[in-house]
Subunit: 491 residues, 2 copies
């Protein structure tokens, strides 16, 4: 399984890519920049979807579906948004192929089937959705609209990396419409909190909540809130964003409503999204040189049971016990796989499930049957212990919970150990090479931000929510600063 | 709600379209031929997805995700498939927009960003998937591959109709790979049976299982199995298809495996799909001149409770009872909405939920509180009865089951009453105008089939599975025939 698997230290980038491919999460496809998400990877994505979808619905959102294509004239209506995405748009120009007369068995684009207006494959759906909302909103009674969409989007990327940056990716995009600015801001923050809750409690990935500087904002947003995580190589990863769009899209698409006093106003908007990028974040937060490590709440297989036997008779008696354990755990809602394939040796299976990040591995041999015991190995700590089968349900529930918690604590400790304060630009540059989050004073100008980025490749990841106000001097310009912000090199 | 809602008899086509739009299922979008699926419609689709997804997984299938785009050279590899879809392909030719210098604020396609090879927006995914499978399959140990994908696809349609025929639609497409022909045929049939099971037991829609004639087959298939349903206007609707693809795609993409004897063979394939078209079938099977009628198993809201009150005091005591009923039913897994909005009158609410097809409506007024009763109205029969609140859980479960069953029986009776036998072409043409399924002898030639289609617009819907063999003469050519097949005009 894990043949020729390099360590993180040897080559972090290769480690990541090999892990994704060899653990059957995803692979590059025949289409430039697009990936195939394989069944094991997709099963994790389904768990992510399921948990988030419930959180969205529990907070009053509904799902809907809007077209894949955006006519160019709609796409360009909100200028900043259009400008932000124009350079990475896949464009449909024709709607038919025909036989290539000069090339037997081949097809060519039919020049007679050119579209009058080009269609953009959605890189994000604000334009098409706000054009639609225009017909849905007349009065304050039509508000709020709280809609989410699970969809594929396309952004033409020059340099791609599985899950982290692909031309096509899967995501959810929430698009809400509100009567007041306050309500829209509350929604923006509410969804950021949901993302943070999901990241920390489901993915076991600690995140910092904050907002972006003007130059890092979503194109067309007034404010972009984000959650930022720290990967094991010391690089930051933006894991989710929630945008306060102000009245920009309402103005671009002329979406007004009559308020309770009968006066027409423009509608306030938010949008928020997370994508299959979370898969990359998940892998890079927990996995190790032995392969994937998955938090139990997102693991497609939470427990694997492997029989250790020398003959069919032994297998038969082990299978009775194993199936009983599976039944007991199934009832608790724990997903268990009993792998009794005779085509592979136990050692091979041990490696396989370790590499695929199954949180708990149980092995049952003839002696265990005699002693009414089972050997259990934790993927996170690689520790083994022998326990009584009688306590299996309680033990498993408790241990899965402990793994979920331990992964979070471990990642949090890592982050704490890689979070620094820089008091000068020299110190800042030295710390950057260590990797991690660096708190430093910044004068608040885009100019300084750009220069630091040019010189060091570090960006301001966010201005943390509830940031401590403190007087200081910008590490770059020496000008006065009122707070420290978080810098890092990032994915 | 249902203002200006025409009856089926007046204008069936307008009835259908108005119903879809006014019941908030879907609407036309700004993109030619593409629809917006609105939250209420999407909630039904989610129920359809949920039920099917479980059926697929229970039979050993996993979900995965393959790219939206198919490079032209892959698309054309399986010639029949390519030929079948070439005329309805959206084609991406460029990957960037730029500022239009002659047109302030506008964008134009950047001619410098022309793709070397055009990308087809998938109309179906056999090509990209079989190109991928090639790398996954070496030995019989790698088989079978049982994968499903939930995705959007695009087929450029000239005449569109909400849900029934749209340029973009949502669907699932299963793509399986097998070591033997027998196994692939078994899979094809198994999935057809799952579709039939779903149609009849979830959608309450009776279907006929059968297979298509050569000219109606999926492009690239050796055999296309289908389920055919009959709509209330007497037109047939193909509700799902399952294709035996033989070794066509394996040969086109050179996918071979070593069998147990070590000999290389081409892999056998199936593919199968249902789409948002099922939403149209659902609406047209059950709905009436009062609006939507939904089978309880697919209804987003199964029970609505409406308070009838004159003052706040009455509402308060009704709300206590209503919330208790909701709690009792929630526990049974029944989805209940208690609509205590004071912005709408009870009469308006009655119409609204009737129009939206909520299976059971419960009304509670002050006298009900005194008597410990509740008035219940069934959407399918429009019958009302007053029942004791003490029996509410049992009554509701039983009645929802009865509605599910009654809708099926009603649709089946309709089909029986609109199924005919034609013994001559004259009779055939007269029956066609009545609408319905017509069993008639056919000589088995594509020529005859085409002529009948030209002259009457009727197509052979299917050759039923387990069809009765009987000697006869083709109604058109008079040539010998060994069985009757089913004709109809169709969606």
């Amino acid at each position: 399984m894990a043949k020729n698997f390099v360590s993180r230290e040897e080559d972090y980038s290769k480690w990541y890519n090999d892990l994704i491919v060899k653990a059957d999460l995803a692979e590059h496809s025949e289409v430039r920049g697009c990936m195939v998400i394989k069944p094991y990877g997709y099963a994790i994505w389904e768990k992510i979807q399921g948990a988030l979808d419930k959180m969205f619905k529990d907070t009053g959102h509904s799902n809907a579906y809007f077209p894949l294509f955006v006519p160019k004239s709609l796409f360009e209506a909100e200028e900043k948004n259009a400008e932000g995405f124009a350079k990475e748009c896949a464009v449909v120009t024709h709607y038919r192929l025909k036989t290539d007369e000069n090339n037997k068995g081949k097809l060519m684009v039919d020049p007679m089937a050119k579209l009058e207006e080009e269609l953009i494959v959605r890189p994000t759906s604000e334009a098409i959705i706000w054009k639609t909302y225009r017909n849905w909103i007349q009065s304050y009674r039509d508000l709020p609209i709280l809609i989410n969409q699970w969809a594929n989007v396309v952004r033409w990327e020059m340099r791609t990396r599985l899950f982290l940056r692909t031309t096509e990716f899967l995501w959810q995009e929430g698009h809400t419409a509100h009567a007041t600015k306050v309500e829209a801001l509350e929604e923006t923050e509410k969804m950021l909190n949901i993302y943070a809750d999901f990241a920390e409690n489901w993915m076991s990935m600690p995140v910092i909540k904050g907002f972006k500087t003007a130059s890092e904002r979503f194109a067309g947003a007034e404010e972009t809130y984000c959650i930022e995580a720290l990967m094991q190589d010391g690089k930051a990863l933006q894991a989710g964003t929630s945008h306060f769009l102000g009245q920009n899209f309402a103005k671009a698409f002329d979406v007004k409503f009559h308020n309770k006093e009968g006066i027409q106003e423009y509608v306030w908007a938010t949008s928020w999204g997370v994508s299959t990028r979370l898969m990359g974040a998940l892998v890079m937060t927990h996995s190790d040189d032995n392969g994937l490590v998955l938090p139990p709440l997102l693991a497609p297989i939470q427990v694997v049971i492997i029989p250790i036997y020398k003959n069919d008779e032994q297998l038969a008696s082990i299978s009775i016990v194993a199936n009983k354990i599976k039944e007991v755990l199934d009832k608790k809602g724990i997903s268990v796989k009993y792998d009794d394939r005779d085509t592979q040796k136990p050692g091979w299976k041990f490696n396989e499930y370790e590499f695929k990040g199954v949180p708990l591995r149980m092995a049952v041999g003839p002696r265990d049957i005699e002693n009414n015991t089972i050997e259990v190995a934790r993927r996170d700590t690689l520790q083994k212990e022998v326990i009584s089968i009688d306590s299996i349900a309680e033990y498993t529930e408790k241990t899965l919970g402990a793994i979920q918690q331990n992964l979070f604590e471990k990642a949090k400790t890592f982050r704490t150990n890689h979070t620094y304060q820089a008091n000068s630009y020299e110190e800042f540059k030295l710390l950057l090479d260590k990797g991690g989050f660096i708190y430093a004073h910044w004068d608040g100008t885009t100019e300084t931000e750009e220069k630091i980025k040019e010189e060091t490749k570090a960006t301001i990841r966010c201005i943390p929510s509830n940031n401590k106000k403190e007087e200081g001097k910008c590490i770059y310009s020496g000008k006065p600063s009122t707070q420290k912000v978080i810098f890092a090199r990032a994915y």
